[in-house]
């Protein structure tokens, strides 16, 4: 790969930003350009989700961005945050754009929280929506419950996931749960969302905010000096994947309870592209919209034995001194829910050595999109490879 992340920017994470979706996008993008030392007028590529709250064409109208030689809207939401960056990488590598901004922003708490299911998704969800299954918590709990059943796990066993991540958030000033750790007792006293699977702390936050990245080629990255935040972070692998017969969060039909077939398609590509393996990652940030995801992913990637993902976390395996410090910003359970983008930014900070909960000696880091749907991942590094 010849692409690098030259800058990152993010807004304050809150439950009520008080500003518009567009304002959040502009603030995040401005921060990323400032961090990269790149002028707004040098941007010629723009990538985001098709679910993005701000409108990219409107951004171009009001900011006078461009001319843009490339732009893209990546589909299906949380599976593909790393897919948006992969699109940017491909554009840079193909030479159709030099400086691409990849971003996600919006009032995802105070604004438009639950949208009417668009016609395009009615068919995707045709076997669940008629039964009143419309929210992600309802969809995912049926998968998560089977995983927990096969492992002999209860919701109390699951508490270690959110307790661990709330501890990270407690020392991350950007986190919604800054200075607010959680105990297992408090977890067990919290309200059920889906009984007997998910309580409130087992579910991701809903957040107003934005995160943006500046992606460019190595040549450009070497020529620019970033403003105090350290060196460019190199993209060693960028992959997306869709398993045959995949379902969006509702793949109950053809798998063992713990399998994440879309993630398998992505992980194989990440290791093949980068020439690195799971043990070469000093830090990771995975998509934790619901707590059972975290041990499932650890098992699928081989960081723990099958069925031992929660033990790995409970034994400190994902802590600052463990073999895989994970979701060190507090993750989407405890820092913010920016549809996967804030997790990628955290891996960049860890590699630059600027994270609030800094792991020592980080060279390589892994970022993943949501693993229970068509998904995506990145391997980032301080070394260009």
């Amino acid at each position: 790969m010849t692409a690098a992340i030259l800058g990152i920017g993010q807004t304050r994470f809150s439950r009520e930003s008080g500003v518009s979706d567009t304002d959040l996008a502009i603030e995040a993008i401005g921060g990323a350009l400032h961090d990269a030392g790149i002028d707004l007028d040098d941007v010629n590529g723009l990538a985001t989700y098709d679910l993005e709250h701000s409108d990219p064409m409107y951004l171009c109208q009001v900011l006078g961005l461009g001319p843009l030689s490339w732009f893209s809207l990546t589909p299906w939401g949380g599976g593909l945050p790393c897919g948006v960056l992969q699109d940017a990488v491909l554009a840079v590598e193909a030479g159709v754009a030099d400086v691409v901004v990849a971003y996600r922003a919006g009032n995802m708490r105070s604004g438009d929280r639950v949208r009417e299911m668009p016609e395009s998704l009615r068919r995707v969800f045709q076997w669940t929506a008629p039964f009143g299954i419309l929210m992600a918590s309802e969809m995912f709990s049926l998968w998560g419950h089977r995983y927990m059943y096969e492992r002999g796990l209860t919701n109390e066993d699951l508490a270690v996931v959110s307790v661990t991540q709330r501890a990270y958030a407690a020392t991350n000033p950007a986190a919604y749960f800054f200075e607010r750790p959680l105990t297992i007792e408090e977890h067990q006293e919290s309200r059920w969302v889906i009984e007997p699977v998910l309580r409130v702390p087992d579910c991701c936050l809903e957040t107003d905010g934005g995160v943006a990245f500046v992606i460019t080629n190595h040549e450009k990255a070497r020529g620019e000096t970033s403003t105090g935040e350290g060196h460019p972070v190199y993209i060693r692998a960028a992959a997306r994947g869709m398993a045959p017969h995949t379902q969006q969060m509702t793949n109950y039909y053809h798998l063992e309870g713990d399998r994440l077939p879309d993630l398998r398609v992505v992980a194989d590509q990440l290791w093949q592209q980068s020439g690195l393996g799971p043990k070469d990652m000093q830090v990771a940030n995975v998509y934790d919209s619901f707590a059972p995801y975290v041990p499932m992913i650890l098992e699928e990637l081989g960081y723990s034995e099958r069925g031992r993902g929660l033990d790995f976390i409970g034994d400190g395996g994902t802590g600052l001194n463990g073999p895989l410090p994970l979701n060190t910003n507090g993750g989407q359970l405890a820092e913010a829910y920016i549809h996967g983008f804030n997790g990628i930014a955290e891996v960049v900070r860890q590699i630059r050595g600027t994270a609030a909960n800094q792991v020592s000696g980080v060279v390589n880091g892994l970022a993943l999109g949501s693993s229970t749907m068509p998904t995506s991942g990145l391997v980032l590094s301080s070394e260009s490879g």
Binding site: M117, R122, R123, Q126, W127, T128, A129, P130, F131, G132, I133, L134, M135, E138, S141, L142, W143, H145, R146, Y149, R191, W192, V193, I194, E195, P196, V197, L198, V200, P244, H245, T250, Y252, Y253, G257
Partner: protein, 138 residues
């Protein structure tokens, strides 16, 4: 209250929902290799055939997974709604709702036996729903 989304009727699903309207739970069988598919497909995942026939299922199965909606409730799934994945005797899994029969003291747990019934739960259309059955009845 009729608030739930109506089923999407397409080439893959038409036979299923027509069956439900007649209070029959029908499953898609590959005409060539007899593999049963649910959700239905347009090409057999085993042999690649595009030819299918539909047969009535027994309507019996076991709870493969479930979740009880507590918070937040929605008009489509009020508080206490039980979402369920049933593993049918035929070997395929189907998503539905579990309707609780208060007179029956059978416990709701993974592995519990269930059988199909047809009703309009928060819907304009009939749905294939499931209820627990006593283990001794089987």
């Amino acid at each position: 209250m009729t608030t739930r989304l109506r089923p999407v009727i397409g080439d893959d699903s038409r036979q299923f929902w027509q069956g439900v309207d007649d209070e029959r739970l029908r499953l898609q069988h590959c005409e060539q290799c007899q593999t049963i598919h649910h959700p239905p497909v347009l090409r057999c995942r085993e042999c690649g055939s595009f030819a299918f026939v539909w047969h009535d299922a027994s309507g019996r199965g076991t709870v493969f997974s479930y979740g009880i909606s507590r918070y937040p409730a929605t008009p489509q799934s009020p508080e206490g709604t039980v979402h369920v994945v049933v593993e049918l005797e035929e070997g395929v899994r189907i998503v539905s709702n579990l309707v609780r029969d208060e007179k029956l003291e059978a416990p709701l747990e993974i592995g519990a036996p269930v059988e199909v019934l047809f009703d309009r739960l928060h819907s304009e259309n009939l749905l294939p729903l499931f209820q627990l059955v006593a283990r001794s009845n089987r």
